[in-house]
C-alpha cells in the first residue's frame, strides 16, 4: 500500500515522461530528416539511443502511414503526431518532477489533475496501437516505446491518487490552478508542432522535377486497366507484384482513399532478370511469372494484383523455390485456365512489350513509379509527401 509520502508514483511518472520524450524525439527526428526528400535510416528499437537502421520496415511503414501525421495536404509530410507527444511529455515530465520533489506537500488538486492528464498519452497510445494492429498489421518498436512510456506515466499518475489517503496537511489550490495547468498543457503540447510547421521548407518547386515520359502511349501492346470505383483522374503505374514497396504504396493509396479515385494504367515492370534484361540478377525472383499471372487476369486484373500483394511473402518464397512451385501456387488460387495463359508465348510477348515501354521511356529501374499524365511523381512524393503532392498535382483525387 502506498503511503502519503511515497515517491514511487511520481518517480514512475517521471521515468515514463523522460522515456516518452526520448522515443518521441527519435520519431520526430526521423520524420524531420526526411524533409530533405532523401531516404534515410530510421530509429527502430526499444532501446532509446540505439542507432538508426535500414532494417526498419515496420517503423518506416508507420511513418509513411496516414496515421503518423496531421495536415498532410497542407504541408509536405504533414505535422507528425510525435510533436504533440514531445510537448505533452515535456509538461508532464516537469509536473512529475514537481510532484516528486513536493511529495506530500503537493496539493490534492495537483495530484488529481496529474492523474487525470497523465492518462491522455496512454489513450492516444491505445488508439495508435489499435490502428497499428488493425490497419498496418505490424508494430513499430519506437512507437511501442512510446506506448510503454505512456503506460508508465499513466500508472504513476494513477498510483499517485493512493497517496491522497489520510490528511497530511497538504496545501490547497483554488479551482483556477487546474484550469491554468490544463491551459498550459494545451499550449505546451502545441508549441513544438507550431515551431515545426513554421519551419518546414516549401516543397512545391520540387514536385515537378522528377522527369517525364518520352512516349506517353504504348505503341505495341497496351497497359492493363484498373478503374477505381469513383475514378476522376488517369494515372500510370509501373509496378512489380513482388515488390514490397509497391505493396506498401498500394496499401497507402487504399488507406488514403485515393485508389478508388484513380483510373489506373498499369505497366508491369518485374525486377527479375528471367524476363527483365535490365538486371544482372533477380531482385524479386518469380516476379516475371507473377506479372504474367496479372497480365492473364482479364477482368480480374485488380484481384490478381492485390492477391500478389497480400500473398507477397509466400509468393516470394515460392519464387525462390523455383518456377514450378510458383506456378502451382498460381494454379491453386486461380485455376488451370489462368496458368495456361501464364505459360502461353503470347503472354511472354505482352510482358516483353511492357518492359520495352519502360526502356523506350528511359525510366529509372525501380518500382513503384507513378505518372500523372506524362509527369513522374517523385518517389518521396509517393510516400511521406503523397497527400501533399496529390493536393498540388491532382487535387480532385482527394475530394
Amino acid at each position: 500500500m502506498l503511503g502519503p509520502n511515497s515517491r514511487l508514483p511520481a518517480t514512475l511518472a517521471l521515468i515514463g515522461s523522460i522515456l516518452g520524450l526520448l522515443f518521441a524525439s527519435y520519431s520526430t527526428m526521423d520524420y524531420a530528416e526526411h524533409l530533405d526528400r532523401g531516404l534515410h535510416d530510421v530509429h527502430c528499437s526499444f532501446i532509446p539511443g540505439a542507432p538508426p537502421t535500414s532494417e526498419a520496415e515496420a517503423c518506416r511503414a508507420a511513418m509513411y502511414s496516414p496515421y503518423s501525421a496531421l495536415f498532410r495536404e497542407a504541408m509536405w509530410g504533414g505535422v507528425p503526431i510525435s510533436l504533440f507527444a514531445l510537448g505533452a511529455f515535456a509538461f508532464l515530465g516537469g509536473f512529475a518532477l514537481y510532484l516528486l520533489l513536493a511529495n506530500d506537500r503537493a496539493s490534492g488538486k495537483a495530484v488529481v489533475f496529474f492523474a487525470a492528464v497523465s492518462v491522455t498519452p496512454l489513450l492516444v497510445s491505445l488508439l495508435m496501437l489499435t490502428l497499428s494492429l488493425t490497419k498496418l498489421g505490424h508494430l513499430c518498436k519506437t512507437c511501442v516505446g512510446i506506448y510503454i512510456s505512456s503506460f508508465l506515466l499513466a500508472s504513476g499518475g494513477f498510483m499517485g491518487l493512493f497517496t491522497l489517503r489520510g490528511d497530511v496537511g497538504r496545501p490547497r489550490h483554488g479551482l483556477l490552478f487546474p484550469i491554468a495547468w490544463l491551459f498550459a498543457l494545451g499550449v505546451i503540447t502545441l508549441i513544438p508542432a507550431g515551431v515545426y510547421a513554421a519551419s518546414v521548407p516549401d516543397h512545391r518547386p520540387y514536385l515537378t522535377k522528377c522527369g517525364e515520359l518520352k512516349q506517353p502511349k504504348m505503341t505495341a501492346g497496351s497497359p492493363l486497366k484498373i478503374h477505381g470505383t469513383r475514378a476522376v483522374r488517369q494515372v500510370l503505374f509501373f509496378e512489380d507484384p513482388l515488390c514490397p514497396t509497391c505493396r506498401a504504396f498500394h496499401d497507402r493509396l487504399l488507406g488514403e482513399g485515393v485508389f478508388e479515385r484513380l483510373d489506373v494504367d498499369l505497366v508491369l515492370f518485374p525486377l527479375d532478370n528471367e524476363c527483365n534484361w535490365m538486371l544482372d540478377s533477380a531482385l524479386h525472383p518469380g516476379a516475371c511469372i507473377v506479372s504474367k499471372a496479372v497480365l492473364c487476369g482479364g477482368d480480374r486484373v485488380r484481384q490478381v494484383l492485390e492477391w500478389s500483394y497480400e500473398e507477397q511473402v509466400y509468393l516470394t518464397r515460392a519464387g525462390k523455390a523455383g518456377a514450378n512451385v510458383l506456378r502451382a501456387a498460381i494454379k491453386q488460387r486461380w485455376g488451370d485456365e489462368l496458368l495456361r495463359c501464364v505459360d502461353d508465348r503470347k503472354t511472354d510477348v505482352l510482358l516483353n512489350q511492357h518492359l520495352h515501354y519502360a526502356s523506350d521511356n528511359g525510366i529509372p529501374v525501380s518500382t513503384p513509379q507513378m505518372y500523372l499524365g506524362t509527369r513522374r511523381v517523385c518517389d518521396e512524393d509517393t510516400d511521406l509527401g503523397l497527400r501533399f503532392a496529390l493536393s498540388q498535382l491532382a487535387p480532385e483525387v482527394l475530394k
Partner: protein, 246 residues
C-alpha cells in the same frame, strides 16, 4: 506557470513546496526549450540539405535496350550505318538495303561483314529456301516465329537475305530481295505491331556481297536434315535480334 503557487493551508504552506513548484516549472521550460530547439534544428538542417544537397543522389539505373558483349564499337558503327541507310532510322521512307548500299555504307569487306555477325550464332538462325524460290516452308515459319518471340531486350531485328551463286547478278539480287520481303511479310502477319517497320532491318545481298562459307552450315537452320553446302547455305535469310544500343 508555477504548479506550486498554492494557497497556504490554515496551518501555513509546508516548507519546500514552493521551491518544488519552481523546479518543476523550470523543468517544463527546460524540456520544452530543448525539444523546441531540437525540432527547429532538425527541420532547418533538412531544409538546408534540400536547398543545398551536399552529395548527389545515388545514381539509379535507367531502363534501356539490352546490350551484350558482341556490341563492339566496330559492330555498332556498321550497324548504325546500316540502320540509317536501310530505312530504320526515324522518318525514313525507304525500306531495306541492296548489295550496293551495304557495300557503300558499311564500308567493310565481305569477310569482316560476316565476322561481325558470328557472335549471333546462338541468337539468330538461318532460314533456308528452295532453289530460285522465296516461299517459307513450315519449318522456316516455325523457326522464324521462335526467333522473333525471343526478343528480350533487343531493339532491332535483322534479316540478311542471300541468293545462291548460280544465275546472274540481277536475278539473284531480285531473288534475295523477295526472300527478305517474304520473311518481313510473315513477321508482319504474326507480330501485330504497328511499329514493326522501325524494328526490322532488311538487307539483301544477292550473290554479290558477304556470301556465307560452308562453315555456316553448323548454325541453327530451318532444314537440319538436308545436305548443306556453300550453295545451299546462301539460298537463305539470316535472321536475328541484335542486342545493341545505338
Amino acid at each position: 506557470m508555477n504548479p506550486a503557487s498554492a494557497q497556504p493551508t490554515p496551518g501555513g504552506a509546508p516548507a519546500g513546496s514552493g521551491l518544488a513548484g519552481w523546479i518543476g516549472a523550470s523543468g517544463v521550460v527546460v524540456l520544452l526549450l530543448s525539444v523546441t530547439v531540437g525540432v527547429r534544428l532538425w527541420v532547418s538542417s533538412a531544409a538546408d540539405r534540400l536547398e543545398h544537397p551536399a552529395t548527389e543522389k545515388p545514381k539509379v539505373a535507367i531502363a534501356d535496350q539490352a546490350e551484350v558483349s558482341y556490341c563492339t564499337p566496330r559492330f555498332k558503327e556498321v550497324l548504325e550505318r546500316v540502320l540509317h541507310s536501310c530505312g530504320l532510322a526515324q522518318d525514313e521512307t525507304r525500306r531495306g538495303c541492296k548489295p550496293a548500299d551495304v557495300k557503300t555504307f558499311a564500308s567493310i569487306s565481305d569477310a569482316d561483314f560476316n565476322e561481325l555477325f558470328t557472335p549471333l550464332k546462338d541468337r539468330g538462325a538461318v532460314i533456308l529456301f528452295d532453289e530460285g524460290m522465296q516461299d517459307l516452308d513450315e519449318g522456316a515459319k516455325k523457326l522464324l516465329e521462335d526467333k522473333w518471340y525471343q526478343r528480350k531486350g533487343a531493339r532491332y531485328f535483322f534479316v540478311v537475305a542471300r541468293a545462291s551463286k548460280s544465275g546472274n547478278q540481277s536475278k539473284n539480287r531480285a531473288l534475295s530481295h523477295r526472300r527478305a520481303n517474304s520473311v518481313m511479310y510473315h513477321l508482319t502477319s504474326i507480330a501485330n505491331d504497328p511499329e514493326i517497320e522501325k524494328k526490322v532491318g532488311l538487307l539483301w545481298l544477292g550473290n554479290e556481297f558477304a556470301q556465307l562459307s560452308k562453315e555456316y552450315c553448323g548454325w541453327p537452320s530451318s532444314r537440319t536434315n538436308e545436305k548443306c553446302d556453300e550453295e545451299a547455305i546462301n539460298r537463305s535469310a539470316f535472321v536475328s535480334w541484335v542486342d545493341c544500343r545505338l
